[in-house]
Symmetry: C2
Subunit: 344 residues, 2 copies
């Protein structure tokens, strides 16, 4: 008796060689991929893209592809909130983002009889790179060097260094760990903050739990937010927490905007109490028009694009192919399974 086929629907744009890698990884896999029915990517590895108007015929084709899918690579771009009715056979969705919690809530998939795996880890390298680019920018006084060049000033002087500082990293997952690893290359010590107690160990010199964060803020020359947005982390870094940081501290947000009180942050930056902020995310995105962050010269602001690197799709597909093998053999848990209770 032949093995049953597994219908894999690729629901966001992928390069052809990556589609072929998925199709070729097991003879039981039957890949459905119709890029002409998907949003047009605005860059390599854009998983949102510009939505298309589908004709009635195209609509029917997409609907029938959804109906037969056992596995989806990314969520349905049209009506994700109807996933359960549209795709009755669906067992598993491989998301293409690390922080899928908000999507899953929005799509009404919480506690669905469905496995969702996230792309956690895929973005660790580019996000940690961005963090270091921003941290070094301020730690090495690049704003001053740029201003001096523009005003044609040559003045030899003392410069500050990154080595010897201490970082507190809230969220000791893959993004936080990779950031800690890079910081340690520069002789920066890293304390990790996790939801549940765990022993210290590379790349973290020490570990604490989220509820004890207040004790550790006064020594955090660099505060890195790399956790998921949950009920526990929303507003975690408020006015009081920012005030507890040492003078001249740097704040990095790689997680989600609402984890930090953005008004309090903007204030501490404008008075010079904090040296700089490195933000890939903001409370509302796009950043609201009247935000003082637009004019803050000590802010590096990225429009939630720091992980949008050309290598992203290849890494998501690496993860997906590994997970497909596990899914088909059934003898190992899928990597990055979304935990509906924890919310990440």
């Amino acid at each position: 008796m032949p093995d049953p086929c597994v219908d894999v629907l690729i629901a966001s744009y992928l390069e052809q060689d990556l589609v072929e890698r998925i199709a070729g990884c097991d003879p039981r896999i039957r890949v459905s991929y119709a890029p002409e029915l998907l949003p047009l990517p605005r860059w390599h590895s854009d998983h949102v893209g510009v939505p298309r108007e589908l004709t009635a015929g195209e609509h029917d084709r997409w609907t029938s592809m959804l109906r037969t899918a056992d596995v989806m690579f990314d969520f349905d771009w049209r009506h994700p909130e109807r996933t359960l009715e549209q795709s009755p056979k669906l067992k598993w969705i491989q998301a293409t983002s690390a922080g899928a919690g908000q999507l899953i809530d929005k799509f009404g998939l919480s506690r669905a009889p469905l496995t969702v795996t996230t792309a956690a880890g895929v973005h660790a390298d580019p996000l940690a790179e961005f963090a270091l680019a921003g941290i070094l920018h301020f730690a090495r006084g690049l704003p001053r060097l740029i201003a001096a060049r523009q005003s044609r000033t040559w003045r030899k002087q003392e410069t500050t260094e990154l080595a010897g500082r201490h970082a507190l990293i809230v969220g000791a997952g893959k993004i936080g760990s990779r950031t800690a690893e890079l910081l340690r290359c520069f002789s920066v010590t890293a304390g990790g903050v996790a939801r549940n107690p765990r022993p210290a160990g590379a790349p973290f010199d020490s570990m604490t739990t989220t509820d004890r964060i207040a004790e550790h803020l006064p020594t955090a020359d660099i505060l890195v937010i790399s956790c998921a947005l949950t009920d526990d982390t929303r507003g975690l870094i408020g006015r009081r927490e920012l005030a507890a940081l040492p003078d001249g501290a740097l704040v990095v947000n790689l997680g989600r905007g609402p984890i930090i009180d953005e008004d309090a942050l903007a204030e501490a930056l404008s008075t010079g109490r904090l040296d700089g902020a490195v933000l890939d995310v903001t409370s509302t995105e796009p950043l609201r028009e009247d935000s003082p962050l637009w004019t803050a010269d000590n802010v590096i602001l990225s429009p939630h694009s720091a992980a949008n690197v050309p290598s992203e799709n290849g890494k998501v597909v690496d993860l997906f192919v590994e997970n497909l093998g596990r899914f088909l053999s059934g003898d190992a848990a899928l990597l990055n399974e979304f935990d509906f209770d924890a919310g990440y």
Copy 2:
């Protein structure tokens, strides 16, 4: 019979605790230190400082300190070219800079019956940090992010990354090696260029010699100059060499300005052929007033200050104390002995 005393003259400003470390490292050492006779440092670890007018009495005191010195920490700030006559007992000078070649020529000390040790290595950490700050600045598109914030533009888009690039590092000494080490943390491969053949090995993925550099330029996404200025390296990176680099390459100079043809570099930057330059040194210092580099937005320009970090004096004294131990015991060669033939 008691051991003879060794008269150590500290000839540039040092913090008191560091002076005491030197004085305390061996009972035979007699330290002379009169900060009131030395140039006033403009920052921590400034070894040039603002010269003082000495009274006749002060002049005599300084002259007699020079006369009895067996060892000097830094060169005489007043008449280094008269060192041999002023300090007839002098056997060794510990310099406080890594590139002492030009000073030694200027002071007429070449082939003097004198040992000079450099501070090579002391500046490796801060210079490599500066290199990475500048490389990440361009590799991660920070100029575009800064401009977008200033024009209040939020546009999600693809971003470039550092990982996966290749660097060619001309000068595989301590500064080049530390830069390679940091680049490798970011998954950048590093080829090293040395004067004489040597086997590849961490932190270099490959090694070549200075005369074969042309073969390696076309694959150098990042060109780092971290060698000494000698007859062999003056003008080493000319117009032709810059033209051989790939489009969008980055150029970093941590060595000395005259190693690169600065006009050709400015031209390649202004046309956008090269993505950016990260310069701690320029052909003439201060940079000449009509240099196009002042207005080049893709240049990070440091006024030869990237190594001027507060931790510098402590590291030079670590080295000096180690060398004093070797000098007194006589059973090991001094570290960083200046090679008058090689010129570094």
